[in-house]
């Protein structure tokens, strides 16, 4: 049953008319309701006319649908010159018979009302224009001007109702613009007549920074994004940024990308960052965050990739000069077209505009890696929640594009280093902390990896040196109960060395003494042995003499007895 029903439901679903305006078709899921009027309302300067005109121009250039623009406020010439800077060349489109511009001027002071009338004149003009170029799209901007020009509101209202009905019968997709009113969407309640689709544009100033927003209040018979979407007008027209609609579905890569510092690669599992991940470098002033970013981008360029450096504090020239002093020649990469700088003060425009310009840069330049230095400056132009939302959207976008991004964050003195100010650390895959260690009247930089998702990483602190030949990481001196850096480390190392030398000398002396003692003892032993030999000899000699003496004595007694013969 359900299977049978589905196709018919799809057939009955509202046909959509794509606007061609970037982002708008995404949040309307296909465009404006085809063959029906859409109300676009907003305060003065919110971009209603531009949206409407872009709808027509893109309809002509992208969808081969001719359009009629009926203006109640600006002449055709004014309109053409207003949008010429956006690359819309209206006179050419008019000449090609694709666009009809008609300026309707109703001047109250010139008009006297005498009896019954209707707005058939408007119908005739619009009908002639539509039929003349076989228009599929119509814009009435701003039809409310009629309320100022014509005194009889009752006639006007019934005629407007008839007009919108008539537009539907003509099967043209129309945009009707209306000024924002108090308590109503439009000043004269046009929303009563146009109920198929209502879009509200807003231009708000917060903290002295203006931000455009677009919201679809109503879209009968269709799903649509309901949020307020940031919108902006730039040299390519209007764009809406439906980034918050993105889900957490970005692809992930297991490719690794070098940090540009061999020892840091080693600290990150030996291979560096993950490609497409987001890296957060936080630290107090002067700890070398920019240098870390530079080392990374330099490495990317060196390997033939493209890199984008977004600086919110320093000019490109200044960064190039400063980084040259530690051995990174960024100018070379810039000239080779591998490195692009984007320097803008945060205050220059609102967060959305920043976001959009980053989007655009990323789309156009297609970098492999991108550094934003520092993002904390953004705090100055928006509320914490807004900044976080913006960065979330940016990170989502960059991850979707597979762009490895490095964000630096300045931690104020007295703040906890582990607590990043914008609370975005949870969005980051790798977090490096650089900090100053003040000892012995000097300051030394320390670097450590606070976290790095999905890879083995070192838990060691490293001393972080900025040398003529780039960034170097050194082991810190880890002694009993202390970690030493800088000259203290060097002094300790020298002391250690001296100690070791003294030990060696002492050991050699002791060895020599022992050898000597051994030799002398051996000599003494030899002398004693010689004495033992002599004593032995003496002993034998004396024993022989004694025996001989005994023999001689007995011989003498015998001779004596013989001599006496007496017995």
């Amino acid at each position: 049953m359900a299977r049978h029903r589905k196709p018919s439901e799809r057939d009955a679903a509202l046909a959509k008319c794509p606007t061609g305006i970037s982002g708008l078709d995404e949040i309307t899921e296909g465009g404006l309701p085809r063959g029906r009027p859409t109300l676009v309302c907003g305060a003065a300067g919110s971009g209603k006319t531009l949206l409407a005109l872009e709808f027509l121009v893109r309809g002509i250039t992208q969808y081969q649908e001719p359009g009629v623009f009926l203006s109640f406020e600006e002449t055709a010439e004014e309109l053409a010159s207003n949008v010429a800077s956006l690359g819309f060349h209206l006179p050419a489109l008019v000449q090609q018979g694709q666009l009809a511009l008609d300026y309707v001027r109703v001047e109250r002071s010139e008009i006297e009302e005498t009896g019954e009338y209707d707005l058939e004149g408007l119908f005739v003009r619009l009908g002639a224009a539509i039929d003349g170029i076989k228009a599929k799209r119509v814009v009435l901007d701003t039809i409310e001007a009629l309320f100022a020009g014509l005194p009889n509101e009752a006639v006007l209202r019934s005629e407007l109702r008839r007009l919108f009905r008539w537009l539907k019968d003509k099967q043209v997709t129309a945009i009707i613009t209306g000024e924002q009113g108090e308590g109503h969407l439009t000043r004269h309640g046009l929303e009563e007549y146009i109920s198929d689709c209502v879009i509200v544009l807003d231009h708000r100033v917060q903290n002295q920074v203006a931000t455009r927003r677009l919201r679809i209040v109503k879209y009968r018979g269709s799903k649509h994004g309901t949020n307020e979407y940031p919108a902006l007008i730039d040299e390519h027209g209007l764009s809406v940024l439906p980034i918050s609609s993105l889900g957490l579905t970005y692809p992930v890569s297991t490719d690794r990308i070098s940090t540009g510092i061999p020892r840091l690669d080693a600290m990150l599992g030996g291979k560096g960052y993950y490609r497409g991940s987001s890296i957060f470098v936080s630290g107090t002033a002067g700890t070398g965050k920019t240098s870390l970013a530079t080392a990374f981008l330099d490495r990317v360029c060196r390997q033939g990739g493209r890199a984008l450096y977004c600086s919110f504090e320093e000019s490109p020239a200044q960064i190039i000069r400063n980084m040259r002093s530690i051995g990174y020649d960024l100018d070379k990469w810039r000239k080779a077209g591998r490195l692009q700088f984007h320097s803008a003060r945060p205050w220059l425009y609102g967060l959305e505009r920043h976001l959009a310009s980053l989007h655009k840069l990323a789309h156009e330049f297609k970098p492999l890696a991108m550094a934003l230095d520092p993002i904390t400056n953004m705090m100055s132009i928006g509320e914490s929640a807004e900044v976080k939302a913006m960065l979330t959207r940016l990170i989502d976008f960059l991850k979707n594009q597979g762009i490895t991004s490095l964000f630096t964050s300045l931690t104020g003195g007295g703040h906890d280093l582990d607590q990043s100010e914008v609370g975005i650390s949870s969005l980051m895959d790798t977090w490096l902390i650089v900090r100053m260690l003040e000892t012995n009247g000097e300051r030394n930089r320390l670097l450590y990896v606070l976290k790095s998702r999905g890879m083995a990483h070192s838990n060691q602190m490293r001393e972080f040196l900025l040398t003529d030949g780039g960034i170097q990481l050194r082991d810190v001196y880890v002694g009993p109960g202390t970690a030493l850096t800088g000259s203290a480390r060097l002094a300790q190392e020298a002391r250690d060395k001296a100690g070791r030398l003294a030990e060696q000398v002492a050991a050699a002396r002791r060895e020599r003494e022992l050898v000597q003692e051994q030799a002398s003892l051996k000599a003494q032993a030899a002398a004693l042995l010689a004495r033992v030999g002599r004593i032995q000899e003496e002993l034998q000699t004396s024993r022989q003499q004694a025996r001989r003496r005994g023999e001689a004595a007995s011989a003498d007694q015998g001779a004596l007895a013989r001599a006496r013969q007496a017995d």
Partner: protein, 113 residues
């Protein structure tokens, strides 16, 4: 051109009045088709002109159904619309011209109340 030119009577010269209104009254009535309202407006207009501008006016009836492009020139929105092209300044009077007082005021034939 499908406009109809109607000059019911030959123009008369009236030197004293001519100084005040040196040119002919050139009037255009815009309508869309032969609607009752259009016929009514034309009838009212000729009556008023005969009474107040006898002999020095010219009425041109423009049917926008036949020549819609003419609506642009005089900025026609409401119908019927009477446009006083001459004497200058241009005046526009909308409606079926049934309120004679207002038509006279609109044509500057009577001071504003």
């Amino acid at each position: 051109m499908t406009t109809t030119k109607i000059s019911p009577r030959p123009l008369k010269t009236a030197p004293a009045k001519a100084r005040r209104t040196p040119t002919t009254w050139d009037l255009r009535l815009y309508v869309a088709g032969q609607t009752p309202r259009a016929i009514q407006a034309f009838a009212n207009l000729t009556r008023i002109c005969e009474e107040h501008l006898a002999g020095k006016y010219r009425i041109e009836v423009i049917d926008l159904l036949k020549s819609p492009q003419l609506a642009k020139g005089d900025q026609i929105v409401a119908l019927p619309t009477l446009v006083r092209k001459l004497p200058e300044p241009v005046r526009k009077i909308i409606g079926d011209l049934s309120n004679t007082e207002k038509v006279l005021v609109g044509l500057d034939l009577r001071p504003r109340p």
